[in-house]
């Protein structure tokens, strides 16, 4: 909503400066989003009439003019050539300056001689006055401009002004007119609201004799009223009107349409003017305005020339044969006001917000009217707006108004009553505002007290404040007028909160700190991704959004891996080929054909295992799958996840060259592995890419209790190594299982320290070297004890796996 300082001041006489007004409005809840200085004072700039023009005797390009400045005749030397005697042009008197832009110095015009000829002032171009870009010739004014009139008075921009762009919150439709804002300012400053008086000069015959209304859908249109103005002369608007509209950013169209727009900006009630002759006549000479629903499939051409196909939900203004307006949104081309119009049907009506919203959205047709109806207009205002506009149309077009109006309003709403217990205000605001003061605030806002006790009051709510529905709303009004900035802050108090998620937040923070400690950087990927990005991860996920913005973002990520891959790829394209990244976040996989939410934690490693340094040469080695597994192990052990199994699920149709699977019993905790090289190549990733994705919900559910402290060993340990030559099919896990089954109670630890293939090892075999550490908790072991236990284990390994000792 745009208003200007001077315009607002016509309705309420505050004494704040433009800057102060902006602050006051903002603190009332009318946030000033922008303000700019507009308009211009034209001190010493007059309308002048050219009486005579003659060549300058001493200069080819100059003219010497005699002009009438309203008081007398002046001689002026002038460089322009686009005018003739009789034209009205702007004149700057000596001692006054041309308007300046910000930062420019003002330079008064001097009377003097130019090339020997006396010049008593300056005739100006539109550019020199800051009114247009045309600097070629003089600004030619209308022929009826009065010589001697101040140019500002002539233009209607008699004063410098400030234009404010206000953010109107949707609860306050009454602020969509300057009067509503004035009412608020008056309440705040405790000043009188100067509502324009409307005096209608109605000619004898009643409007109802020409116009009838048939309101078929009072739900979508609770009130419809019309007035008829005859003998209208459509033409340009007077300067005060077109200038104000142009300041507010509206195009001046003609004196009828401009009045309807002006009244809408003034009171917030959208109006529409029809050419009454376009309405079909009944046999008795009357025209019936039908307020009906559109027919399904009906087509309608709006004022802007667009044709719309309607689905039957729209509310239409029609005669008995055809629609003439898309009610509450836009008029029709067939009934528009034209220069030939002589009879104006002035509509002032109230339409239901939801329906207007739906129509305007569906037809993609947003107008100042639909904007206001969507937010709700006050049905009580309909008549005032109609009378105000009728009076102004008569004034500007010379038209004659038929007496009365036709007005269909089947069910005027009862005024709402709301009670306020004064002590509730104090309890909610945390300060004490005496009841009399609360009362005064509310009455200033137009609420009238119906009954009052010591502790409470009941108030009738004015119709323009439909947002005041219950006690809390009245408390807010008191707080606003009191000033929320005056309420002191009190220190936090009270007990502590609880929520099941609270602990999980800490676990996630712990995981983040473990991962950053291991050198991984955290990323945040987009939730909305493309089908292509999901496809690269060898996943399928349907585009989930009904109203996606673009195909780039039409799919909810089913996994964190597409985001990590795109981050790796982005970095590779920016010459960062090594990366260790993780993300913790929500993903949206499909389960039983329904999108569900799941939390995941994913890791990605690629490139140099250590940052290259002068100490380790150019190639410190690239990350491989055991770098990844090591980080997963540290992470999961630190989070106290026990009983994990690491399995190789092969490669069939996987993202990975071989898919590692991490399981807990029957549940899959995660997947990991090295990205298939053709996928890596697609993303321009040159080094091995290691990826893992963990089911964070499962991890949270399976955390073990903290383990108790284990006493430190007192007795010495004995280490025995063994190297086993086994078939490739024998896994480390198989060896561990056999060792564990052997269960000598003083075997403390088994560690693999070498896996070797190559020289001296037959094809299809590998050598696994283990260190077995023996330690008895209560005594020192003898050599024989250790040897016999160790021998037992080795023998068992040989028997069960066919291993040979190297």
């Amino acid at each position: 909503m745009k208003i200007t300082y001077q315009w607002l001041k016509r309705y309420v006489d505050f004494d704040w400066s433009p800057g102060e007004l902006a602050d006051r409005l903002t603190m009332l809840g009318l946030e000033v989003e922008a303000s700019e200085r507009v308009g211009q004072s034209y001190d010493g700039v007059l309308v002048a009439e050219v009486l005579e023009r003659a060549p300058h005797p001493n200069a080819d390009r100059l003219l010497v003019c005699r002009i009438n400045d309203g008081q007398g005749v002046r001689r002026i030397v002038c460089g322009a050539d686009n005018f003739s005697a009789g034209d009205r042009v702007p004149l700057v008197l000596p001692g006054y300056a041309l308007p300046t832009r910000e930062g420019e110095k003002s330079r008064p015009i001097k009377a003097g001689k130019i090339r020997g000829e006396v010049s008593e002032g300056m005739l100006c171009s539109g550019q020199e006055l800051g009114l247009s870009d045309d600097g070629e010739g003089l600004l030619l004014l209308d022929a009826d401009a009065t010589p001697g009139q101040n140019l500002g008075d002539y233009l209607g921009t008699d004063e410098a002004d400030t234009l404010y762009d206000l953010e109107i919150t949707p609860n306050r439709p009454d602020w969509n007119g300057v009067l509503g804002i004035a009412r608020e300012v008056a309440a705040l400053a405790n000043l009188e609201l100067r509502c324009p008086a409307v005096e209608l000069q109605e000619s004898g015959s009643p409007c109802a004799g020409r116009i009838r209304i048939r309101l078929e859908d009072p739900e979508r249109c609770p009130r419809y009223s019309a007035r008829l103005i005859e003998r209208v002369a459509v033409g340009p608007s007077p300067a005060w009107l077109s200038n104000l509209l142009s300041k507010l950013g509206l195009r001046s169209i003609n004196n009828v349409v401009d009045v309807t727009n002006f009244v809408m900006m003034e009171i917030g009630q959208p109006l529409h003017a029809f050419d009454c002759r376009s309405l079909a006549r009944n046999e008795d000479g009357t025209a019936t305005v039908v307020v009906r629903r559109a027919h399904e499939g009906e087509t309608f051409t709006s004022l802007d020339g667009q044709e719309h196909r309607l689905n039957g939900s729209e509310i239409m203004i029609a005669d008995e044969q055809k629609a003439v307006a898309l009610g509450g949104v836009m008029g029709g081309l067939n009934s528009e006001i034209t220069p030939e119009t002589t009879e104006v049907l002035l509509e002032s009506a109230c339409f239901a917000p939801g329906n207007i919203r739906a129509t305007s959205k569906r037809l993609n047709l947003r107008t100042d009217a639909s904007y206001r109806f969507e937010r709700g207009v006050d049905a009580q205002t309909v008549d005032w707006a109609s009378r105000r506009a009728a009076a102004l149309i008569c004034e500007t077009t010379g038209g004659q108004l038929r007496s009365g109006a036709v007005d269909a309003w089947p069910e005027p709403p009862e005024p709402r009553r709301v009670s306020l217990r004064f002590e509730r205000t104090d309890r909610l605001l945390g300060i004490r505002i005496p009841p009399e003061e609360q009362l005064a605030f509310l009455e200033r806002l137009g609420l009238s007290r119906r009954s009052k006790t010591e502790t409470a009051g009941e108030f009738a709510i004015p119709s323009h404040r439909d947002d005041l529905k219950r006690e809390a709303d009245l408390i807010e009004e008191v707080a606003r007028l009191y000033g929320v900035d005056r309420i002191p802050a009190t220190p936090p108090r009270g007990g502590t909160g609880t929520h099941a998620y609270d602990r999980q937040h800490d676990v996630l923070a712990q995981a983040r700190s473990l991962l950053t400690g291991m050198g991984l950087h955290e990323i945040q990927g987009q939730t909305l991704v493309s089908q292509a990005a999901v496809g690269v991860s060898k996943l399928t996920q349907k585009a989930a959004l009904e109203n996606a913005l673009s195909a780039d973002m039409d799919t909810l990520r089913p996994s964190l891996l597409p985001g990590l891959l795109s981050a790796l790829s982005y970095n590779a394209h920016h010459n960062v080929g090594s990366a260790a990244l993780f993300e913790a976040g929500t993903v949206f996989p499909v389960r039983d054909e329904r999108i569900v939410e799941a939390r995941r934690l994913a890791l990605a490693l690629t490139g140099d295992r250590f940052a290259p340094s002068w100490t380790n040469g150019a190639n410190p080695g690239d990350y491989d799958v055991f770098d990844l597994k090591g980080r997963l192990e540290v992470l999961l052990e630190s989070l106290r996840i026990q009983g994990l199994q690491w399995q190789n699920a092969g490669a069939a149709d996987s993202l990975f060259q071989e898919e590692g699977r991490l399981t807990l019993g029957k549940q899959i905790v995660g997947r990991f592995g090295q990205l298939q090289s053709d996928l890596a190549a697609q993303l321009d990733l040159k080094k091995a890419v290691l990826l893992a994705e963990l089911d964070w919900d499962l991890i949270l559910a399976r955390q073990a209790a903290p383990r108790p402290f284990k006493p430190l060993p007192v007795f010495p340990a004995v280490r025995r190594d063994v190297a086993l030559l086994v078939d490739e099919s024998v896994n480390h896990r198989d060896i561990l299982k056999i060792v564990r089954q052997a269960k000598p109670n003083f075997l403390q630890n088994v560690e693999i320290f070498d896996v070797f293939r190559g020289r001296g090892i037959p094809q299809g075999k590998k050598s696994l070297a283990y260190a077995l550490v023996y330690r008895h908790p209560e005594r020192t072991l003898t050599d024989e004890e250790v040897s016999s236990a160790h021998f037992g284990i080795v023998e068992r390994l040989e028997k069960k796996t066919g291993a040979r000792i190297r």
């Binding site: 709303d473 802050a489 007990g495 909160g497 950053t516």
Partner: protein, 340 residues
């Protein structure tokens, strides 16, 4: 065995001492020093031999001769040790002094995402006030995201927040604010409630320097008996002083949200905003929980009152780190991430 003359071992001892001293000083390395130790103090060393010969002295002379020889032995041991330390230190020193200006071998930690850092700072200050962290689903329904928050279908506020809907029969949506968690929490817990809710939210805004369809919000909700606007302002001031610095100034001005009444927007002012050429910068929305919202979750608004306030994490992070394009947060450029 022939008894020895008294003076003989003593003068020998003095001679050995002088020789040893010379030899130790001349020793060039630890090996040489070890040889000297053996020559004098080894099992067959010169001084050891003297001690063995003590038995040949007349008994009355043995104590003083023994004392003297042991003194010599101790002195030689001292010389050896001192020289050993000198040689050890010399051996430790590289032939060329180490260039300590060379960079160290670093174990670089990973960094947290700036949005996480800001979120954690805010969560931490709320927790200091006794708030518990809460979370809720990102796929929501109209009820939790709008209806229960006093925003009926026709309400213009639903237009203000353009919403992504899922392509499915029951048309679930991506939550447009974290306020849906207020409803879920209050429906599950009886008052008092004190939660802080960080999380991702979604709006149908085309991505540009200040919009990303995905972004993060955090909000606080406090419900108790006799909670006032004063409490709201007190807590907001505490949190923003922690997050934006002690010198921050706050301004509350009336606004409109469907789920609070009264509602306010919060502007802040600090050296940072002044550097940006603005006295006040909008930072958060807040208000007293609307009684209709309490009724929707089954709380009696006559008994309970409360406040809620919420704000965008990206906005705070952009202000704090001077980041001008919100998309930077989602590009995950390591050159960016490593700076936090």
């Amino acid at each position: 065995m022939e008894p020895e003359a008294t003076g003989e071992p003593l003068s020998e001892a003095d001679a050995h001492l002088a020789d040893a001293e010379q030899a130790v000083t001349a020793a060039a390395d630890l090996d040489e020093l070890q040889k000297i130790r053996v020559e004098y103090l080894g099992a067959k060393g010169k001084i050891t031999t003297l001690l063995k010969r003590l038995g040949r002295l007349p008994p009355q002379e043995r104590p003083s001769a023994g004392r003297r020889i042991n003194e010599v032995k101790a002195t030689v041991e001292g010389l050896l040790e001192r020289r050993r330390r000198e040689l050890r230190e010399a051996a430790d020193r590289p032939s060329v002094p180490t260039d300590f200006s060379l960079p160290g071998r670093r174990l670089e930690p990973g960094r947290l995402h700036p949005l996480t850092l800001v979120t954690e700072d805010i969560v931490r200050s709320f927790r200091r006030l006794g708030f518990a962290v809460a979370a809720g689903p990102e796929i929501e329904d109209d009820y939790h995201c709008f209806d229960a928050l006093n925003t009926p279908p026709d309400h213009p506020a639903r237009d203000v927040q353009d919403t992504f809907y899922l392509r499915e029969q029951d048309r679930r949506l991506l939550r447009t604010h974290t306020s849906s968690v207020q409803i879920r929490t209050m429906r599950e817990q009886s008052p008092p409630v004190r939660i802080v809710v960080p999380g991702r939210v979604y709006r149908r805004d085309t991505a540009d320097a200040t919009h990303n369809p995905t972004f993060h919000q955090i909000e606080g909700l406090y419900v108790d008996r006799d909670v006032t606007i004063g409490d709201l302002k007190g807590t907001v001031s505490f949190v923003f002083r922690e997050v934006l610095g002690k010198e921050v100034k706050l301004r509350f001005r009336p606004h409109y949200f469907s789920y609070t009444e009264p509602s306010m927007e919060i502007d802040f002012s600090s050296p940072v905003t002044r550097r940006m050429g603005r006295e006040w910068l909008e930072i958060a929305g807040c208000g007293m929980v609307h009684p209709q919202v309490f009724e929707n979750v089954g709380y009696d608004p006559e008994i309970w009152s409360g406040w809620a306030f919420g704000f965008g994490i990206e906005r705070i992070a952009m202000i704090r780190y001077g980041i001008e394009d919100i998309r930077k947060f989602y590009e995950n450029d390591l050159r960016f991430l490593r700076q936090f």
